[in-house]
């Protein structure tokens, strides 16, 4: 039984491959999307436990995607970790304003991402959400 379902969204196919593998190694089930629109679709249809979302993407960028996820009743409770090469404070601020739950800057260590995911999933357990 998988620890949880994680949706990885990045237009960089290599990053998606690596995260698919390293999160898989940690026992997560990994879903992937290459842009924001795909991500919204999969979030609605698959209802993942957590979304790892890149910011700089074509069509719909990570901020917009996050805003839409958080404003949709069906997806607003899913924790979102933003992932971007931008590391300036103003970006982080925007990240939290659009409702992201955490933020990791590139280049990052997959291990660190796994730690954050574990932490977020531990906190946002179903009981707590119901409470």
């Amino acid at each position: 039984m998988a620890k949880g379902k994680i949706l990885v969204v990045d237009d960089e196919i290599y990053i998606v491959h690596i995260l698919d593998f390293s999160l898989g190694m940690e026992g997560y089930e990994v879903l992937t999307a290459l842009d924001g629109e795909q991500a919204l679709e999969k979030a609605r249809s698959e209802h993942p436990d957590l979304i790892v979302l890149d910011i700089m993407m074509p069509k719909l960028d990570g901020y917009e995607t996050c805003k839409m996820l958080k404003s949709d009743e069906a997806t607003r409770t899913i924790p979102v970790i933003l992932l971007s090469a931008k590391g300036r404070n103003v970006d982080q601020k925007i990240g939290f304003e659009v409702g992201a739950d955490d933020y990791i800057t590139k280049p990052f260590s997959p291990r660190k991402l796994v730690e954050r995911i574990n932490a977020l999933l531990g906190q946002s357990s179903p009981q707590r959400l119901q409470a």
Partner: protein
């Protein structure tokens, strides 16, 4: 002689009145005092005076006052009191007048303050004029201002002058020198100059300007009187002057008024200089502000660029780091082999991407900082496209894209940096292939005209959305970054392309229909040097125009001449320039030579060549010619077609300045014969024209490439041919063949021609084929094939072991035998990249060693004396280049004058 000097004004009416009143009062007072002190005596002593004496007597004598005396006293008292009243009235009117004057002074002070606060020069001077009119009472005031550094005084502010007169005054500046001549010592009053009408002094007044100020009486202002106030600054330079006229009181101004004018003047100088400083300051401020804005824009661009670059750098780094971390973190757990492989591939790819990106950023930075140095040379775009096609073919095959090159013009050369154009073509080509799905096609097409060469890269790919078209040449603009990444782009390629094109003075654009394909168009200017100017042909035969351009270039190269022109006869027999190099476009357009006139006209009518070593000796060259051409030596030969005269070919301004000689004329005749054949071929059909143009292009390319060594080779071939007993025409033919003998090698790369490295089998075959290739290529230029024969056999050996036909002995044309020796000598003495040059003795020894095997023994024997002859010739060429011939010196002047 004038009775009164200007500046000492006549007493005013008020003054006169006042003075007479005072006199009277003083008289009355003293009399009354006298009477009071000794009332009887005056009466007595003044008895001879009746009237008053009688009255006074009555008053003093009668102790009981006589009524008559009393009356008299009363009358006196009354008189006294009226006098006092008059006096006090006078006094108060004087006070009033002083108060008015003080008010006026105050007003003037106010105005002066105002003057100093004006920062706009025009406003300031206009205000000043009006102030002078209102406070000092001059109906007409004119200020002329001198722009710093000039010697003209321009009318720039007026008061009391009609608009028409203003225009007149403004249209006629006063020269500084003239103005200063008016400032004569005898006109000087204070610091002003009063020039009375009675001075026999002639001022130049603008014509039509005659102020009419009415009739004059003594002391009155005359309409021809002038009062000038020159304004000097602290360093003694004239800044401006006032000229005033038409005083309201109609009198010559008092010295007081003049002083006031001068005070105005002093302040005006300060104010003018302030205003000018302010203007400068304003301009500097504006410039600084603009520079600041530009800096800000640049800074924004730069910081934007930096943040994008850092993002682009971090992305591959992220992938690499993530791969490495994942592999390390796996620890004991088994990572599947295919996964390992995949991660390593990612690391390698991303590493390459990083390297590419860094290279691109550095490339762009070089363009931006202006550190790019274009190594310009004649680049044959058709050849470059051929090379690119070979390099792109594997990519196209992998992507199952059909790659094609189409050349739609004959002359495809541009003056450009070959490496950069190569980068450009490869980028646009590979881009097109990348974005074209399997089964599609990519077309590289060359078009152009006499000034530009156009490269179009067309694909049947996914296309570019319209709103993105303008932005694709921007840095890091990606229509769809995932696509770009998938195809391994950096987002900088098109920006680099744009920079390359712009550095070449060209332009690049893109058009596209999404889903159907895109087309990139690059337009490059042909050359930087003097272009060949071709007058358009009546039927828009562009291939023929191309051909003429190439023909002119060929003549210029073979003859080593900077100026070449081809004149053709009009229906009326007059000659006009059809194509030329080294002449202005206007000269080409406007020159008409009447039949029989001038050198070309004579050549055309007599159908005989003309060689002029020094025009000065014949004295028949008009001076105007010498301005157009840089030298006084020229050749002119008829261009004979099968059905009569085609035109006249003129050559002048030889490189090095050596005067043309008869042998040059023979060489030109050989070249002219080829030009004539080419032209006639071309006029038959447009296909013929492009075939001929293609040949000429190869010839010119070969000539350009071998420019350095050609003159020696040509001279040596001519000398040896003459030693062998050939006549001048034949010797000229051999020397022409010598100038283009390796034209068949053009298809080979530089490295083969330079002899670098080992030859591949294909290259070896190409070398063996080059005499035949060359001879075939020259076909469209030949009627009798004489040059072809010489070139075809120039690698045959005397003993029959050469190529391509293994001819031997005298079966080898004499011209070829000559050329074989010359070619061998050149390659030994000049040296090749892989072989250092040999000494002349060594080289001669080698020729002798191969005499009878490779070379005609008889020719080898003559070689030494031919060499000596050709070197004497070269030496004379150097002497000929000395400036005493005029050409070189004149040329240098022309060059520096440009």
């Amino acid at each position: 002689m004038k009775k009164r000097k200007a500046g000492i004004a006549p007493p005013s009416d008020a003054e006169v009145r006042l003075r007479s009143e005072l006199d009277r009062t003083r008289r009355d007072n003293s009399r009354m005092k006298r009477e009071a002190a000794d009332p009887v005596r005056p009466r007595r002593s003044d008895s001879d005076v009746p009237g008053t004496n009688g009255q006074a007597q009555a008053a003093s004598e009668g102790t009981a006052a006589a009524p008559g005396e009393l009356e008299g006293l009363r009358a006196q008292v009354e008189e006294l009191s009226t006098t006092r009243q008059r006096l006090s009235k006078l006094y108060f009117s004087q006070v009033e007048e002083n108060r008015k004057r003080a008010g006026k002074l105050h007003q003037i002070l106010e105005n002066i303050c105002q003057i100093n606060s004006h920062l706009d020069l025009d406003d300031l001077l206009q205000g000043l004029c009006e102030t002078i009119t209102t406070t000092l009472g001059f109906g007409v005031v004119l200020i002329r201002l001198r722009e710093p550094g000039t010697s003209r005084l321009h009318a720039c502010a007026f008061s009391g002058i009609t608009p028409a007169a203003r225009v007149l005054l403004q249209s006629q500046d006063v020269k500084l020198e003239e103005f200063l001549s008016w400032l004569r010592e005898d006109f000087k009053v204070g610091r002003s100059y009063f020039i009375s009408h009675s001075h026999s002094f002639n001022r130049t007044l603008p014509t039509g300007y005659t102020p009419d100020l009415g009739t004059r009486e003594e002391w009155e202002w005359h309409k021809d009187d002038v009062l000038l106030v020159p304004l000097f600054n602290r360093s003694g330079e004239l800044v401006a002057y006032f000229s005033v006229d038409d005083p309201i009181d109609r009198l010559v101004p008092s010295s007081e008024t003049m002083e006031l004018l001068e005070i105005f003047g002093n302040h005006a100088v300060v104010a003018i200089e302030n205003a000018r400083l302010y203007r400068q300051l304003e301009q500097h401020t504006r410039e600084l502000e603009e520079a600041g804005t530009r800096m800000q824009e640049l800074h924004a661009l730069k910081s934007n660029f930096v943040s994008t670059v850092s993002h682009e750098l971090r992305t591959p780094l992220t992938a690499i780091k993530a791969c490495v971390d994942t592999l390390l973190a796996a620890g004991d757990r088994e990572v599947p082999r295919d996964r390992q492989q995949h991660f390593l591939t990612i690391i390698r790819d991303e590493n390459q991407r990083l390297a590419r990106l860094i290279e691109s950023v550095l490339d762009l930075n070089r363009f931006d900082s202006g550190a790019v140095k274009l190594v310009r040379q004649a680049v044959d775009m058709a050849e470059l496209l051929g090379e690119s096609e070979r390099l792109l073919a594997p990519v196209a095959i992998t992507g199952q894209v059909n790659l094609k090159v189409v050349t739609e013009l004959a002359d495809t050369r541009v003056d450009a940096d070959r490496d950069q154009l190569r980068q450009l073509v490869l980028h646009l080509g590979s881009n097109a292939i990348k974005f074209t799905p399997a089964g599609g096609s990519v077309l590289l097409r060359l078009r152009g005209d006499s000034r530009e060469v156009t490269l179009q890269v067309e694909d049947t790919g996914i296309g570019i959305p319209e709103q993105a078209l303008e932005k694709i040449f921007e840095r890091f603009y990606q229509v769809d970054s995932s696509l770009v990444r998938r195809y391994g782009g950096t987002g900088l390629g098109l920006a680099i392309c744009k920079s390359i094109v712009e550095w070449h003075g060209g332009r690049v654009s893109a058009e596209s229909t999404p889903g159907l394909g895109s087309r990139f168009t690059v337009v490059l200017p042909r050359r930087n040097g003097p272009p060949v100017v071709v007058r358009s042909l009546p039927h828009g035969e562009s291939a023929t125009e191309d051909l003429l351009r190439l023909a002119i270039e060929m003549v210029s190269e073979v003859m080593n001449a900077r100026v070449v022109s081809l004149l053709t006869p009009e229906p009326d027999g007059a000659l006009r320039i059809q194509a030329a190099v080294g002449l202005d476009e206007t000269v080409v357009r406007d020159t008409r030579v009447a039949p029989g006139f001038g050198v070309a006209g004579r050549v055309a009518s007599e159908r005989r060549p003309l060689c002029v070593a020094h025009a000065g000796e014949n004295g028949d060259q008009p001076a105007s010619r010498r301005e157009t051409y840089f030298s006084d030596t020229y050749l002119s030969v008829p261009l004979e077609g099968s059905q009569g005269l085609l035109g006249v070919l003129n050559v002048t301004d030889p490189e090095g300045g050596r005067p043309f000689e008869a042998e040059d004329c023979h060489l030109l005749l050989q070249v002219a014969a080829r030009v004539a054949v080419a032209w006639q071929q071309a006029s038959r059909s447009s296909d013929g024209a492009s075939e001929v143009a293609a040949t000429l292009r190869q010839v010119v390319r070969h000539l350009e490439r071998a420019r350095r060594s050609a003159p020696d080779r040509v001279n040596l071939a001519r000398a040896l041919a003459r030693e062998a007993g050939l006549d001048e025409a034949e010797a000229a033919l051999v020397s022409f063949a010598a100038s283009i003998h390796d034209v068949g090698m053009n298809k080979l790369g530089e490295s083969v021609i330079e002899g670098v490295g080992r030859l591949s089998d294909v290259e070896r075959q190409a070398v063996l084929d080059h005499p035949e290739v060359g001879a075939d290529l020259l076909e469209p230029l030949e009627t009798l094939g004489a040059v072809q024969d010489v070139i075809l056999a120039h690698h045959e050996w005397w003993d029959g072991t050469g190529y391509p036909r293994q001819l031997s002995g005298e079966a080898i044309p004499i011209g070829s035998r000559v050329l074989a020796l010359v070619d061998a000598w050149e390659s030994m003495v000049v040296g090749r990249a892989h072989k250092p040059a040999r000494s002349r003795d060594e080289a001669l020894g080698e020729l002798i060693r191969l005499s009878g095997r490779q070379f005609d023994p008889a020719l080898v024997q003559m070689f030494a004396s031919a060499l000596a002859a050709s070197e004497r010739h070269n030496a004379s060429a150097v002497r000929g280049a000395m400036p005493d011939k005029g050409a070189a010196g004149e040329r240098a002047m022309h060059d520096s004058g440009r």
